[in-house]
Symmetry: C2
Subunit: 421 residues, 2 copies
């Protein structure tokens, strides 16, 4: 592979936003400025979908202050998409856009689907004889990307949830003279990585601290065991604090609730999220118990105030590493985060094949979940605790966070419009 | 009135916690130490209910570090209650406890009901010939206490909500290539003070910034107008951001949803909160629109990280002022917050009759709500903006907030147990 490839760089973001995905973007831009072989630094709006529309912006025209501000600004500053490239015509279009704008470096920040997209684009470029480097940058609050030790975005979402649990549990404690069940629903449609993070709210050596029960998609839900679990906690504590991942499944592997509602195993019809589902179970089957539920929804992945500095810095580092790898001749790889072996947490970047990442899903190890199915052991804590250290400092204006927006100076379009049909 | 009343001070907290009610407690304790006429400083656990149980603790034995930590610790460090004093025997019991522990100063931190309780206790003490001073300290996220310009607790909850709206709206913007409706349900069972605060998320001179629609309990809900409102926003914006107060009512003044669910005006049965109610309306009556909803629940009133420093400082000041007033001979009053007339916001304390506060409810002025019924005008912003300035600095341990807990050294009980039946 040649390391002397001169041309333009295109970076885009894909999938659900996190509060550090812009930090990776900032890493890409600031590193790209260091390399003369990179002539122009373009951003693709709204992921691959916008790239097909030739919606490119000139990132070199953005103010330095804005690039710096990306390190504390949540969501995807370039916009994002959930578009799945399937048609041959769409792949060809992407390559045409690359050729029209002399894109020799394509960096795609996203989760599994995005790494799959990057992999396929890379193969189509090779087939078309268009020399370029394609590097993926990991991003997902779900933490389900393989090979990488963890994914940028995860540390911040669990730091937020652990913070909320610690705050809310004090509220519950003050009110908790009588039996009360508090339920907090968090994200995680397919895995319990996020819900598990709530365990970090417990003080050291205080296993009975809230959250008392954590329900994970990895453990099939049994309503009778659930009611027993709650009763067990209320025997020893004045209140019961539950964290539940939205993707809870029944014994047959079916989601307990869907966007349109669902029905519980006792036959009651349900609307709302899985937190309300659990609330209704308690309301209907346990007498004299008060219930409260909250659903953080997308607020948790957007919670930039109080985000993890470790997470934000690693996201930035991943962006930088992607540019360095591409410039040095690497292609078809995703940047990974590699944890050091020493007792003190260290993290550096590595590389994984895009195709390997695209097809894998990292599950929460079953042996990190205790036998009771509703709590995590020290192995999880040892893994997750370093990821939530430090806080991102977010400037304020008039008392609310002052985030940045890009100017988005468009790059002139060179091609006729693309047909998506 | 004599100002030479020597004896012990008892402070307690009541009603729903806020993230600054402990700041008022800290203000009471630190000010009480300055006055020799105050011999012992006691805390009553779990409000008036615990006082009847003679559950008093010795606050002078708490560490200075803990008292300082109360200024950033959410919830009620003394515990709280929602007990309503009704029986003559209960009032007599309270006075007996006061006499047994030589309580000459009783400070009660709470909302309307608590001020009513304080008022009645004061009258019973007078009838019993027990000389004492009773002062209320305002506390409520609902901001519905009369006479006082605003209530400690309110500034922090709306600062949190405005922050969440600003964060979440960036997420919505990045995803918002297609019609999407985002719904955030906030507290406020009887008034829209809290929901209104979401308007502070808008940037100056950007009236079209999220939140696009704010539904307040003050404005009877019309489902057809609601669907028109949403359609109107989606004509000009890629997404529609809605904030709704939990206590929304229909044209007849009935809550749209109850703890057990409810039914919408179109006859659909509903479970979950009012946010889900609105979500279902859109899902069923507007085609091709995606909906997302989040319900902050009690997390919003416990959100100490990012709380308003102005609010916390004023809560502390109210606690100090209560002690000073009581020592100077004042009784049967609640401390109020009085806004200065100057253009730059200033705030000092004043006094209001407990009986006046007990029986009043401060409504969101109708002329602060725009004609459209779903947005606030500059008068609200002018009122609310100063209340969210500055941030409370919360120390962390292992990446999560490090809050304080009181040691709670009990005061020896002097009386036989009280019968609550």
């Amino acid at each position: 592979m040649s390391s002397e490839l001169t041309g333009n760089l295109l970076v885009a973001q894909s999938g659900g936003p996190t509060c550090v995905i812009n930090s990776s973007l900032a890493g890409v831009i600031s590193e790209a400025l260091n390399h003369e072989c990179i002539e122009e630094i373009y951003g693709g709006l709204n992921g691959i979908e916008g790239i097909m529309r030739e919606d490119l912006i000139d990132l070199a025209e953005e103010q330095q202050r804005a690039i710096r501000g990306l390190r504390f600004t949540p969501s995807s500053a370039l916009g994002t998409c959930r578009f799945k490239l399937r048609r041959e015509a769409d792949f060809q279009r992407v390559i045409q856009v690359f050729q029209a704008h002399n894109i020799r470096y394509f960096l795609y920040i996203g989760g599994n689907d995005s790494q799959d997209t990057a992999d396929k684009i890379s193969k189509h470029a090779a087939a078309a004889g268009w020399e370029m480097r394609v590097i993926g940058i990991p991003k997902t609050v779900d933490n389900d990307l393989v090979v990488t030790d963890h994914s940028p975005g995860y540390g911040s979402v669990i730091k937020h949830i652990a913070t909320v649990v610690r705050e809310l549990s004090l509220d519950a404690e003050a009110m908790g003279q009588h039996d009360t069940v508090h339920i907090l629903e968090v994200m995680g449609r397919n895995s319990g990585w996020i819900a598990a993070g709530a365990t970090l709210a417990k003080r050291r050596d205080q296993p009975n601290d809230p959250p008392h029960l954590i329900y994970l998609p990895e453990v099939p839900f049994d309503p009778n065991k659930f009611l027993d679990d709650v009763a067990g906690v209320l025997k020893r504590e004045p209140f019961c604090f539950i964290v539940v991942g939205e993707g809870l499944v029944d014994q047959d592997g079916n989601y307990l609730t869907t966007a349109d509602g669902g029905s519980d195993s006792f036959g009651h019809s349900q609307l709302g999220g899985v937190g309300d589902f659990l609330k209704n179970l308690v309301d209907k089957h346990a007498e004299g118990i008060k219930t409260r539920s909250a659903r953080l929804g997308h607020t948790q992945r957007a919670a930039a105030t109080g985000a993890s500095l470790t997470d934000s810095d690693e996201a930035f580092m991943a962006g930088q590493a992607a540019v360095r790898a591409a410039v040095s001749g690497v292609t078809d790889k995703m940047i990974t985060l590699v944890r050091g072996d020493s007792e003190n947490y260290t993290c550096e970047t590595g590389l994984a094949d895009l195709s390997e990442v695209a097809n894998g899903v990292k599950h929460l190890p079953r042996n990190w979940i205790n036998e009771d199915g509703v709590s995590l052991n020290y192995q999880f804590t040892k893994y997750a605790l370093p990821l939530i250290q430090g806080e991102v400092d977010v400037p304020r204006e008039n008392g609310v966070p002052s985030f940045v927006r890009l100017i988005r100076n468009p790059v002139d379009k060179q091609l006729p419009a693309h047909s998506f049909e």
